[in-house]
Symmetry: C3
Subunit: 343 residues, 3 copies
């Protein structure tokens, strides 16, 4: 797409300072901008405008001697969002069932549903209104999907699961796989059928290649508003509260129950059968080894309060010096003893 600065200024209702005939072909962030880019600056960024290589910049006040034409608006971020939408129109998904989609018996499809190429929607599934299902999505028998959900290519929802409204599943998320449950006798492991399901409440988002296992019985549960990043694993019977964040590569073992507004930073691992209170926070790579009270901020492995972990990490540095000092003290004491014996 090619737009002149003049055309862009008209779109966002701004005033041009400089040559309004310059042609812009893309949007970029401030630091990555090039002569064909438009970007924006607010706050501290404005001071560094002479380092910016954009062909045009959206500002909230004129900058003297800026190296490129400016468009002055009231709200630069909102104006830039409008330009972003112009250059990056969201992909329009046709509101139809693609002829290659395989729809089972007794499936209920809501209004304004889009089902992409090569989807398989199994018997008795229920798909709500305005749901977008992209190619290669597999919906298991009896699974219910609420309204306004968006399911990306290759996601799998196994049978008997329940998704609320506005749930997003990113590409290749796997919901409702059989949990890792075995009975071991004489060293031989026999799989125990995991007949439960997974429930994802309203406004839950699940990242790419994230796997959430079925409960053994009952439900593995993610409460409303919780956002889960890529490559995360939730074991059977896990319960995650409302509005939590689980960052990439977090793993939560079976039957752990977690409150609301909890944040698990990346690669944190959590043992099974424990309870985590509301508003708890875990630094990256934390190894959660036991129950955690509400509002705790934890780090390390074994897990400690974050401040203590930082303190201990700092003190570790001093270990070699300490060993030396203690040896030295021993010598001094021995010298004192000898001296006393003599005296």
């Amino acid at each position: 797409m090619e737009k002149t600065i003049r055309e862009l200024a008209q779109l966002i209702g701004g005033k041009v300072i400089g040559d309004d005939s310059v042609v812009i072909t893309e949007t970029r962030g401030f630091e990555q901008a090039a002569p064909q880019s438009i970007t924006f600056a607010i706050g501290e960024y404005v001071e560094h405008i002479h380092l910016c290589k954009a062909g045009a910049i959206i500002l909230e006040a004129e900058v003297t001697n800026a190296p490129m034409p400016q468009i002055i608006v009231d709200n630069a971020k909102a104006a830039f969002a409008q330009v972003l939408q112009l250059f990056h129109p969201p992909v329009i998904v046709p509101r139809e069932v693609h002829p290659t989609a395989i729809i089972g018996e007794n499936v209920t499809l809501g209004n304004n549903v889009a089902i992409g190429a090569y989807c398989v929607i199994n018997d008795n599934a229920v798909i709500g209104d305005n749901v977008t299902i992209r190619p290669y999505v597999y919906i298991g028998h009896n699974t219910r999907i609420g309204n306004d959900c968006d399911i990306y290519a290759g996601a799998i929802v196994h049978e008997n699961c329940v998704l609320g409204n506005r749930v997003v599943l990113r590409a290749k998320a796997v919901i409702g796989g059989e949990g890792f449950g075995f009975a071991t006798e004489n060293g031989v492991h026999t799989h125990i059928p995991q007949v439960g399901n997974v429930i994802l409440e309203d406004d839950v988002e699940i990242g790419s290649c994230t796997t959430i296992d079925n409960a053994t019985m009952g439900s593995t549960l993610v409460r409303k508003g919780t956002k889960i990043d890529n490559l995360v694993h939730l074991g059977h019977n896990v319960e995650i509260g409302e509005n939590c964040f689980l960052i990439a590569q977090v793993g939560i073992a079976g039957s752990t129950k977690c409150g609301n507004n909890v944040i698990f930073a990346g690669q944190t691992g959590c043992t099974g059968h424990i309870t985590i209170g509301d508003n708890a926070k875990f630094a990256g790579k934390t190894g959660i080894t036991g129950n955690v009270p509400a509002d705790a901020v934890m780090a390390g492995y074994p897990m400690r309060p974050h401040k203590e972990w930082l303190k201990l990490s700092a003190y570790e540095h001093r270990l070699p010096e300490m060993v030396k000092t203690v040896k030295q003290l021993q010598k001094e004491i021995d010298a004192l003893k000898a001296q006393l014996k003599e005296s």
Copy 2:
């Protein structure tokens, strides 16, 4: 499904205490049960029956003043399993090759095989008897699948691999990808073809989004009965023994060899080219940095015996106090020295 307590009692041969006309529509675990649920209680759970919200409960002996109707049987767990099967009949997969499945040349299909929609089975593949292959499964050229295997949606088995009998691959498992092998010259990395394969012996189970790479030559090998959870990675030429457990997000680097009955808890990582003895156990997040003898129980990173790791973790707490104490001792010694000099 709707069943009265009377109907359920008949199914499991139990005796009803209370109103047998109550309608039950689902099974749930003891703690999650609601008025429309049936559940069961044994052991300690029986003491907490007054907290249970189930509409009906299966017990092995009558409880006075229970808040819901009871069904009394000899074995409550087995009876509940019968009820589970009634409410959660396993999905019946038709024993047919779906018309959209693409079957290559010279493919051998066993008896009673089910091949789902949009599968691609490549030339010279061999599929054993009673194998269930769900939608979107890709079987590479020359790959051999034993009898009674169950392969979930979207799993991929690359060419030349060998699966034994009763092998289970969960959704989106990737077996036989090219290993991560490169020759580096002047900082530039050139891929070395990994012409080996993967062998999964009888009764192996592989979790969702788990990746097992081909050997450079020979075979990456998982021996019989070993169960691998979701999001695990096995590098090229890894060998895992019999009846091991690899919990979610474990990673094993290339050419490591592991004995039988080994347990790797979640997020454990293992360096390449080492040997791990039979019955070794690794706590979650262990960093395995060298050979491990049989029967060892290890934890931490760098790895230590689990008991030592616990002890050191406890001692770490005392570091700041120690630093203080040592400073104090230094002062006392200096005071003693001064005193001696004076005297």
Copy 3:
């Protein structure tokens, strides 16, 4: 395939010592070789030839009393590579667009392209010359794929992404998913559209089930020659330099910028918004918590220079002994004090 040693010797231009009529049916590495295998030995391996069980061995000089027939050549490794290709001919992918592939409007296909079964190539995508796209690959709207790329089954490249020449995507790699970006108000998280893309430069390889998220704006960028293993995660706006290695299960948080020739060993995690210099190296499981200068070699969590980490890990052992010693010193000092008081 069955070949006599004589036939194999002819293929590689070698001289047979021993019975040239022995039939060989497979290639194996030195340690895994069996009577039906051919293998090779160079360097130290030659000294252990009496332990090798191969039916034939390729060598660069005759070994007296070897337990199997030998084929003597100038370059044993190169000769064995020829034999490998004979026994493991690469799968031939037909240079055609499979009739089940769905090609959108205004898609550009280069010369000699192969597009597999059940692929979905969306509107305005550009596919370069000699590109191989295997089954179930999804290419988003406007995405551009360079020449000679190889994309394995089930990989997904979302819209607006750019792949250079000779890029390899392994099975189920997900390129260009929406980044994990949210605005949080009163504890409720709202997704911020991530309108950027992913750029993978020439000769980049991406492993199975690896996920690389779109930039919020601009591009998440992997520069030429970098090789990424399985189950790795790159957050939005990450930039990875040239010829880096990211081993399995590494995670890099958003907006981190990394130089050239950097090596991240397995399960390393990296915080967001930091800078890593050229040639830095990270041991497995490192927790990268801040900026890293060029040429640094780091380990542990919190990260330290690798040598210091090794030293501190060794000193940790001595903590319990230290605590004991310090107590003992306290006693001795107390004794000295008492003695001085008396004197």
